[in-house]
Subunit: 342 residues, 2 copies
């Protein structure tokens, strides 16, 4: 069918091992032979059979990436770019990406186990990790190569890249304070989320630094669901005037959309009567009404760093487990630029 190493050997009247070594630039083959081999390989259109090479080297040059389908009304605004960044970085190193969304944690764990045992991938990229993450635990246990977008337990030593949510929210809060806001609320996540903790911490820190009080009712812990965010925002806006926040930061653009609509429905104009900040800088954030100020994650860099880390890891060229914390960028738009009219 397709042209193999054997065909080249036959063509030149030499052995297959000579051909293989010529193609792989072994030192113990004459440069003239190398030249001839490469020339014939080119001429016959030879391409090494990946599967055979993989069997020999017991590797697959494949990385697995799994994510969990979101709730129906949710969406992952950055999956697209994340996948692209990872796939491109992988291709640069001769790897490819195997994607397998799983509907549940258990299904995901099963798939991991299956892939580890069948040797289907050389390593994994995890995302949305959390405290006591079972995937991290399992892979550490099996000593299988992986990197993670996100942190987990501090005593688990594994390579990760994360975006500094604390610093990001601090920047956003400082931006709001600079515009004169003093009553700032935070639409946070349930305590179980480590990412949520980091981001909330940024809120608390910067408020305290600015000497601003934080009323307990300004912190709403909700799931990353539109309806929950909408309801919470309505409640915040219904507070008595002296306590009503003039700015709200939401930990997701999805939640920020709930805030925007709650404001409109409460008879307020977001961007004028209420400052709103989101997180993620989803592609549609700039098209909302008003355009949404949001924290942009350097998602392409995250993907690129993760993959190169993983490549080095499987090659054994990684002495310590790197921990990389990247900084988000505040993209200021109309939803937060109007100074607070105290």
């Amino acid at each position: 069918m397709s042209v193999t190493i054997k065909d080249i050997a036959a063509e030149l009247g030499i052995s297959v091992s000579a051909v293989s070594k010529a193609l792989n630039n072994y030192p113990d083959v004459a440069s003239e032979t190398k030249r001839q081999v490469k020339e014939t390989a080119q001429r016959l259109g030879y391409r090494a059979n990946i599967t055979a090479r993989n069997l020999r080297a017991s590797e697959t040059r494949l990385f697995g990436y799994s994510w969990q389908p979101n709730f129906p009304d949710q969406f992952d605004p950055i999956l697209d770019r994340f996948l692209q960044a990872m796939a491109e970085a992988a291709a640069r190193h001769g790897y490819h990406l195997l994607t397998f969304p799983n509907s549940s944690v258990d299904a995901e764990l099963d798939t991991y186990a299956e892939m580890v045992r069948t040797g289907q991938v050389d390593g994994f990229v995890l995302s949305n990790t959390n405290l006591d993450d079972r995937r991290v635990h399992r892979l550490l246990e099996n000593e299988f190569p992986f990197v993670a977008f996100g942190r987990s337990n501090v005593d688990w030593d594994f390579p990760w890249v994360d975006v500094d949510g604390t610093a990001g929210v601090r920047i956003a809060i400082q931006h709001l304070i600079a515009q004169g806001h003093r009553r700032i609320a935070c639409l946070a996540w349930p305590e179980a989320s480590l990412t949520g903790q980091f981001r909330l911490q940024g809120y608390l820190e910067s408020m305290e630094e600015a000497g601003l009080p934080v009323e307990p009712e300004w912190i709403e812990r909700r799931e990353n669901v539109y309806a929950d965010a909408y309801a919470a925002a309505l409640r915040l806006l219904a507070l008595p005037a002296a306590h009503r926040p003039s700015a709200i930061i939401a930990l997701t653009d999805l939640m920020a959309m709930g805030v925007l609509n709650a404001a409109w429905d409460a008879g307020l104009e977001p961007g004028r009567d209420l400052a709103v900040v989101g997180f993620d800088d989803a592609p549609m954030a700039r098209f909302l009404r008003p355009p949404l100020t949001s924290l942009r994650q350097p998602i392409a860099e995250v993907g690129e760093r993760l993959v190169t880390m993983l490549v080095n890891l499987v090659k054994g060229q990684l002495s310590a487990k790197p921990h990389i914390l990247l900084q988000p960028e505040l993209i200021v738009r109309a939803s937060s630029i109007v100074p607070c009219s105290e």
Copy 2:
């Protein structure tokens, strides 16, 4: 390292071929032996080495899916669910998905060629096909298995699944007409797009059927870019009152967002002063202001059908090339439910 077929053979004192045949339920192996083999395989935690099996069978049980990164301000609202549907269907048949976004058509073609020759995948899934699609042309030429989300030249015989854009837009227009609208505009795509042609055809057909005139200036052909859609909508809304459309259908939700914002900026309230319909039913469509009426593509079914078709194709169990046309569903929301006040 890991447990192979040889270990089972040694454990039971039989040959590797017997073990292999037992595991694959060959008829010429005693049922008692089968039982023992399977029991030991279970006990030792045996998993067949995929690479070895692939080399033997000269297949990879991998399907390739490539897509082109969108323009910066665009986003693919359905990539997430499409990938999920495909990956899950693939997993059910023992296949996995290799994803490799490419930045240009040429890069994509190169990657295809590379993968075909190295035998890295057993087949491809294409999407966003168009007339004279070079990918389709190449793969047909090489007789390499593939299926496509979308149609192409009528004289090219290949398996595809598509969503009936013509029928979809017809439903939407009929919905608008039923609400009393008579001046309906269409924010279409450049002529080069086959999908755009199909959808526009639905507009033209249903307008003609209803005996409604179509003024040339009601058809705006623009790229699928927010700014272009916004500008076009502003122009439509600036038409003299007698010619100004009371409803606009956009061929994408992204373009529909441009229409919504143009309406607001023109001092109109979309949903009350102007009906707007989009296409795709992006996840955020329901959260827009007002919630956007849109045509929902059965994207999960598209993905599932494509993959099962491809599985049958590579297995040679496909006599004719199937052509499947699925119907979109009109999701009616506030942006179009208020009857036109003529």
